[in-house]
């Protein structure tokens, strides 16, 4: 995946960390200390459509750009910037009755993004 940096307008993964202490949730969530709610943002022009994440190479993009340009009118859209790799979030927390509960929530942390 491509991590968002600087002024890149291409589809990338934007890191966003939620600190449980900052939002006042550290009293009932024991572990971890926060949640990496990364998300995907950016454009998926035609010439990178269908090239999810790290598989995209500069050479491929350029070739595709040539093909796309020769196609009549390049229109944006039709391809979205979506997660291509995710991992679960393991939580250890107190429930209402002060029991300690451990839960693994699947697909909660975005690891990589790409164009669908």
């Amino acid at each position: 995946g491509i991590d968002c940096q600087g002024g890149s307008r291409m589809c990338c993964r934007q890191e966003f960390f939620v600190d449980f202490r900052e939002i006042g949730w550290d009293d009932w969530i024991i572990q971890p200390e926060g949640y990496a709610m990364n998300f995907c943002t950016g454009q998926c022009p035609l010439h990178v459509a269908g090239i999810p994440g790290i598989a995209a190479s500069f050479h491929t993009a350029v070739l595709n750009l040539l093909k796309a340009n020769t196609a009549t009118g390049t229109t944006e859209g039709g391809s979205c910037c979506v997660p291509t790799a995710q991992k679960p979030l393991s939580l250890l927390y107190y429930d209402r009755d002060s029991n300690i509960v451990k839960t693994d929530i699947p697909d909660m942390v975005v690891e990589a993004c790409g164009c669908s």
Binding site: R9, F16, V18, I23, W25, D27, W28, I30, Q31, Y35, M37, F39, T41, G42, Q43, L89, L91, L92, Y93, Y94, D95, R96, D97, S98, I100, K102, T103, I105, M108
Partner: protein, 217 residues
């Protein structure tokens, strides 16, 4: 990423300033976690949980504390088998001696002792047998009774009898003397001796006390 006209690329809404965007994302994160935990709101703790309880729960969760050896490493467990040597016996009383060399049980913790024996009985009979565990009386070097077990054997074949701590102590000292007393005429205690293929034996499960390592015998 704002477009030239300051509208969101994806939804076309006007873009948010950073602080508003941050609030939106934090709320989104809260909602996402609560939904996945099937909670309508965050739990309100009615009574605080002690740190000790929390530490215990975390230890359970993570398994043995770092650095603690797993059970097997804390001391290897062995089973040591000793076949009976026959001592004095008469019609209804038989003496069995089981020996363990210092080299095998020295420095070991005997955790369990089983007597395994074979009997051949006529069908539909019940043979009552008393198994006595003897100990050496330090004063007069005679054997005295430490404990006894009453058995009712109702079938031919191999049988086992778990012996108590007295027998474990005797094994750890290297010598376990037993006395079998037949309580009925069905069979004689000496029948238990069987042939070479059916000689009684004792299985002592021991754990190396960490002082020395002994290979399995």
């Amino acid at each position: 990423t704002p477009r030239a006209d300051n509208q969101c690329l994806v939804c076309g809404e006007p873009t948010l300033d950073l602080e508003s965007q941050r609030k939106l994302l934090l709320n989104l994160a809260k909602r996402s976690i609560l939904d996945k935990l099937h909670l309508s709101q965050r739990p309100i703790l009615s009574q605080p949980v002690s740190r000790a309880a929390l530490r215990t729960a975390l230890q359970h969760l993570r398994g043995p504390p770092q650095g603690a050896l797993p059970e097997a490493d804390r001391g290897q467990e062995y089973e040591i088998i000793s076949f009976a040597e026959t001592g004095l016996s008469n019609i209804n009383q038989t003496r069995l001696d089981f020996h363990f060399s210092d080299r095998t049980v020295g420095g070991m913790e005997v955790q369990q002792v089983r007597l395994m024996f074979f009997v051949q009985l006529p069908p539909n009979t019940i043979w009552t047998l008393k198994v006595r565990v003897l100990v050496l009386d330090p004063h007069d070097a005679n054997f005295t009774l430490a404990t006894q077990h009453l058995l009712e054997v109702d079938a031919s074949g191999w049988h086992q009898l778990f012996l108590g701590p007295e027998a474990q102590a005797a094994c750890s000292q290297g010598h376990l003397p037993l006395e079998l007393v037949s309580e009925s005429q069905i069979a004689q205690s000496s029948d238990i001796l069987g042939g070479a293929a059916h000689r009684p034996f004792v299985v002592a499960r021991v754990r190396v006390g960490g002082k020395q390592r002994v290979r399995r015998h």
